[in-house]
């Protein structure tokens, strides 16, 4: 993935996270050490698009990040957040982030977004993502957001 695309991804995702969840993203240039990878419960959100251009993005939210953006999004207490709401927020995040990205990469609007899907991964290790060519990592106060994407 080239640097221009990475820059547009960062700008677009930051707009979504700051506007909707009051959460700031910081791009990570290098993978963290093994002890900082944040293995455990994650929410995975997947979205693809096709038409004028094609692509697929997978988002991996550590549970704490997923829960906290849901709290900020809905304005509810942390204890009142349900798993379905976290999944729904993750899917909507993927929708907004990639919808926004597509608006910049394909301003003519020939590509169509598919419906985003989300699921909970009970035991996931982001180590499996290291080495993926389309990997982007963003540091947040609730852990690292991992994104793997392809765009053509």
């Amino acid at each position: 993935m080239d640097q221009d695309l990475r820059r547009v991804i960062f700008e677009t995702f930051s707009e979504v996270f700051e506007t909707m969840f009051f959460t700031f993203l910081e791009p990570l240039e290098e993978a963290p050490g093994k002890e900082d990878l944040g293995q455990g419960r994650f929410v995975e959100a997947a979205i693809s698009y096709s038409g004028g251009c094609n692509g697929r993005f997978l988002f991996y939210f550590p549970w704490e990040l997923g829960k906290n953006i849901t709290v900020n999004f809905l304005g509810v207490d942390e204890d009142g957040v349900q798993e379905g709401q976290v999944k729904d927020t993750a899917a909507e995040t993927a929708n907004m982030a990639i919808g926004g990205l597509l608006g910049k990469l394909d301003p003519g609007g020939n590509a169509s977004l598919a419906i985003p899907q989300a699921r909970v991964l009970a035991e996931f290790s982001p180590e499996t993502l290291l080495g993926e060519p389309g990997l982007c990592m963003f540091s947040t106060e609730f852990g690292i957001l991992w994104v793997v994407g392809t765009h053509a």
Binding site: T19, L74, Q85, N95, G99
Partner: protein, 145 residues
């Protein structure tokens, strides 16, 4: 006089956020109705008095653009203003929506002030007489349309 608002989005959390945003905007709301796609929205419109529709575009079964087309083809329903709240904000989508008479267009992610401003603008155009008794609203955002 209050307005009945239909919120159409396949994301339950997004529907909740939109309802909360509208409730806090000061727009007098009678009842909120919710649909998770265009098909459900049409079923509600067939049975319920709705004053304004807030709809996503990218939804399963029937998307927002098809909903807008169906609404625009119906002699009674076409009077109901429809505002898109969507990630799909390309010029081509906006032009298509304009062709079928969309009343407003809000791009996600949105600031609450943007929804408030566009909702008031649309309601004032469609139902000026019903807003006469409401306190005046300052411009609080910009339409993306």
């Amino acid at each position: 006089m209050a307005f009945n608002i239909l919120v159409t989005d396949d994301s339950e959390t997004m529907r909740a956020v939109i309802k909360k945003t509208v409730s806090m905007s000061g727009v007098p709301v009678g009842e909120f109705h919710e649909a998770c796609n265009g098909k459900e929205a049409l079923a509600i419109l067939a049975e319920t008095w709705i004053d304004v529709i807030l709809s996503d575009i990218n939804m399963p079964e029937m998307g927002g653009m098809e909903l807008l087309k169906k609404v625009s083809e119906d002699e009674d329903l076409r009077k109901i203003p429809l505002i898109f709240i969507t990630t799909e904000a390309s010029d081509a989508r906006k032009e298509e929506a304009k062709k079928f008479g969309v009343a407003g267009y809000v791009k996600k992610p949105f600031q609450p002030e943007t929804i408030k401003a566009i909702l008031y603008e649309v309601l004032e155009k469609a139902y000026a007489h019903r807003l006469e008794d409401q306190p005046g609203e300052e411009d609080a955002g910009e339409s993306d349309f």
